[in-house]
């Protein structure tokens, strides 16, 4: 970091969220006493969750004034996007921090539906809402004293790298505190940074690598939902028909979910060379589905396979639970509640 020419011997650190839940900040706070070291090493120049700065201040900085910018949250509206551009301009190193910034995360599930359907569900046909004259939030509202404004949302949730150039990515929903610290420490110690585009704070291998459950050859005859089966302890969940995204997900979290008997949902994102995590996992699990034989006859075979496939509820929402915004298709073409492919 030293060669990044920082004044007063300290690097300039910024952290900002766009559309996110704040979990990234909490995870950041969870580095615990290390916070003090961060305080030591960095001159925090923009860190909304713990310190009080104006965006004005940021606009005031010279380009590249910020050494390290941890940007979390997806790009949901023009405000998010403009903020991304501003921080990109002011930062030497732009890091997509957490699953939202990296690949859209849970908010990007909104790409399976439409803005219109969303407003309807929340303000119009909503059981607790009393909205006789169908008031909807408006971009501009004239009130007695003047005019009030709301930013407009994008139809499609985007990942950070879809709007600005990103140098590094720290995956996870949220990134595990230990990993966050590992990265910060490296920066603090001035370790030479890997080529841009690299994923930091995570492993190069799939989750299985660090998963303590024992794995065997895989054959699945149907899928079970978490409440439909009590998994055998210490045995790979996927083998037991409980969907686990582990094989298609980058390690780094420590395989926490499988260890409490809950399949991985893929929040650390795909591995190098895979840019559509969902398709990969889909292909993988389908390949090990052990249903039907050629001797069944084509019709029977097809039926058996369909039955087995249909035991996997909501494939799109499962395979793309976290990576929708970064998937090849990115969004649904219609307001899919999933059960009807046809445009309505």
């Amino acid at each position: 970091m030293s060669e990044n020419g920082k004044s007063n011997g300290q690097g300039k650190l910024a952290m900002y969220w766009a559309a996110s839940c704040g979990g990234c900040e909490i995870s950041f706070l969870n580095i615990g006493l290390r916070l003090l070291d961060v305080d030591e090493a960095f001159d925090v120049v923009f860190l909304p969750c713990v310190a009080d700065f104006k965006v004005d201040d940021v606009r005031g900085y010279d380009n590249g004034y910020i050494d390290l910018c941890l940007f979390n949250g997806a790009i949901r509206n023009s405000e998010n996007e403009a903020m991304a551009h501003l921080l990109r301009e002011k930062s030497k190193i732009m890091v997509a921090f957490g699953s939202c910034a990296y690949e859209g995360c849970i908010p990007a599930l909104a790409n399976l539906t439409t803005q219109e359907a969303t407003l309807r569900a929340i303000y119009l046909d909503n059981p607790s809402t009393d909205n006789a004259d169908a008031v909807l939030p408006q971009p501009r509202t004239a009130v007695a004293e003047g005019e009030l404004e709301l930013p407009e949302l994008y139809e499609t949730v985007k990942s950070l790298d879809q709007v600005v150039e990103v140098d590094y990515t720290i995956p996870g929903c949220p990134p595990e505190a230990t990993q966050i610290w590992a990265v910060l420490q490296a920066v603090i110690d001035g370790v030479e940074l890997p080529p841009t585009g690299t994923i930091l704070g995570a492993d190069r291998l799939a989750l299985c690598e660090e998963c303590p459950l024992t794995r065997d050859v895989k054959k699945i005859d149907r899928f079970y939902r978490p409440h439909e089966k009590i998994p055998e302890p210490d045995v790979c969940l996927l083998e037991q028909g409980l969907l686990c995204m582990g094989p298609a997900t980058r390690a780094g979290c420590g395989a926490l979910c499988p260890q409490v008997g809950m399949g991985c949902r893929g929040c650390y994102g795909p591995l190098d060379g895979v840019e559509d995590q969902g398709a990969r996992m889909l292909s993988a699990v389908a390949s090990v589905m052990d249903v039907g034989q050629s001797t069944d006859g084509e019709a029977a075979l097809e039926r058996k396979i369909q039955e087995a496939v249909d035991t996997l509820a909501d494939p799109a929402g499962t395979f793309y639970r976290f990576s929708m915004a970064h998937s090849l298709l990115r969004r649904a073409r219609t307001n899919g509640d999933g059960r009807d492919g046809r445009p309505e």
């Binding site: 704040g22 995870s27 003090l36 909304p48 969750c49 405000e79 908010p107 607790s128 404004e149 929402g317």
Partner: protein, 495 residues
């Protein structure tokens, strides 16, 4: 200088803003509290498998994912019509108490702390957790951080992950508590109790010992008389995990008490075109705008509200502290029960009392023989249909309501989350504070505006929850405009 409303910088900033309009005399004409974003969980959860909701809705808010996780899990119990074993219920509640301790700790020290510890007039740059640590000393700082860490450890062990836990299942929990862990957690619970007492002590020393603060708490600027909501057990004592919803009027009389599943009978939400967030209110009373008093359906659901809505605390030390607060703030006892306290800033005190309660409750549960029952994951094969579940989130009563098809895929989802309950009161408090504090166009100082912020910070608003779209912490922008809409002051406050 351009008009704020079209100034790109303004639109760039933060995730919530207050527009304060001044009249000719430079007095506050009106203040609007605007929440400009929406993620729309209600819609994009449709089509998802219901059992995934504990792992999806916790992403509504990274500050209180545990609240959503537990609420969603309880909703699944109802949806699948399974009654969790008492072991399961205890396990979940214990997990939830650990979360309460860390959450209240975070808020008090990291967010509210600066106001009291450093004082409202301290320079912005210091007004943060590090500032607090510098002021109260590293030792206290370490205690605070350690408290968060040990409880997050509990959350991680039981919930699978430190943030966004995954273990909730209809009628169960995906992993049980092992005996050796139990011992460790018992120790943690004891430390929590000590820390609770310590924090109350600190509050007394710092705040009650300081007249300006005491005056401030009692000052009219921070007072509102509204209805109060909270979850209570069979003895009308505060409970976070389960019970009936109880609402008391400004006078402290029970207004209504109902099982959470009946929320639609009692709660409705009002829509304004200038904000994405809806304003819940009491159906029986009705929506009469941003006013308080018994004629307004506006109610409040905060730590203070919960205490006001209850007849007391279920654990001894917390009960003591509870009585002390009401006594100190001069609440009268009417047939055994204290009258509500309407001072919003007392919420911080109430929060510390809740922290102590959570710690004590955690200790009760962790020492319960049933807590290590290994059999906590049932197989569920009932056909789901509709279900409601609720818990007391730190920021207010949290309600989830799902409808599914026979395959357990969601058809409809409705969520009324903690902070939303308080949207109207916050808006009112902010306006009131502004009106009280900004007079005759007097030049607004940073500290002064911070007091405006304090008005709403007392609610510890979490608009991540509220809009299901915003970060857990509330970044606030305060814009003060004159008659012509010119900006006199434009200040920011995050958290």
């Amino acid at each position: 200088m351009q008009r704020i409303s079209i100034d790109p910088i303004t639109r760039l900033e933060g995730h919530g803003k207050i527009d304060i309009f001044l009249d000719g005399e430079g007095n506050v004409a009106n203040a609007y509290f605007i929440v400009p974003e929406l993620r729309g969980f209600e819609q994009f959860c449709v089509g998802r498998p219901a059992e995934e909701m504990p792992r999806i809705t916790n992403r509504i808010c990274g500050v209180c994912p545990e609240a959503h996780h537990v609420a969603a899990t309880k909703t699944l119990d109802a949806l699948y019509r399974v009654t969790p074993s008492s072991a399961v219920r205890k396990l979940r509640e214990m997990f939830y108490m650990a979360f309460y301790v860390t959450d209240h700790t975070t808020h008090f020290y990291a967010l509210a702390g600066p106001d009291f510890v450093l004082g409202p007039d301290a320079p912005a740059a210091q007004r943060n957790i590090l500032g607090v640590i510098h002021k109260v000393g590293l030792e206290v700082g370490r205690q605070v951080i350690e408290c968060r860490q040990r409880n997050h450890h509990v959350i991680q062990v039981l919930g699978g992950r430190g943030v966004h836990p995954v273990a909730g299942l209809p009628g169960g929990w995906s992993r049980s508590l092992r005996p050796e862990e139990r011992e460790e957690f018992e120790e943690i619970a004891r430390q929590n109790v000590d820390f609770g007492l310590f924090s109350l002590q600190l509050f007394e020393d710092l705040v009650l010992g300081n007249d300006t603060y005491v005056d401030m708490i009692g000052s009219d600027a921070f007072t509102h008389e509204t209805y109060y909501m909270g979850t209570v057990d069979e003895k009308n004592r505060v409970n976070f995990y389960d019970g009936d919803i109880r609402v008391v009027g400004p006078d402290g009389k029970e207004f209504v008490k109902y099982p959470p599943a009946d929320y639609l009978k009692h709660i409705a939400e009002h829509v304004e075109p200038w904000t994405y967030l809806k304003f819940p209110y009491l159906k029986e009373v009705g929506w009469n705008g941003f006013v308080d008093g018994p004629e307004s359906g506006v109610y409040c659901a905060t730590p203070l509200s919960r205490l006001n809505a209850a007849d007391g605390m279920a654990t001894p030390k917390a009960q003591e502290a509870y009585e002390k607060m009401y006594e100190t703030l001069g609440s009268r006892r009417i047939n055994g029960n204290y009258q509500p306290v309407h001072y919003r800033l007392a919420t911080h005190w109430a929060r510390l009392i809740e922290l102590l309660y959570a710690a004590e409750r955690m200790l009760e549960l962790v020492t319960d023989p049933e807590i290590t029952d290994p059999d906590v994951r049932p197989v569920v094969d009932t056909t789901p249909d509709e279900g409601v579940g609720s818990v007391e989130a730190p920021r207010g009563t949290l309600t989830h309501h799902y409808w599914t098809d026979e395959n357990g895929l969601l058809r409809k989802v409705n969520l009324i989350v903690g902070t939303t309950n308080n949207y109207a009161p916050i808006a009112m408090s902010v306006k009131k504070a502004a009106t009280e504090l900004i007079r005759g166009g007097e030049v607004v100082t940073d500290g002064l505006l911070n007091r405006v912020e304090m008005a709403f910070r007392a609610y510890d608003p979490c608009f991540g929850c509220a809009t299901h779209s915003l970060p857990g912490q509330m970044p606030l922008q305060v814009v003060v405009k004159d008659e012509e809409g010119r900006t006199i002051a434009d200040l920011k406050q995050f958290c």
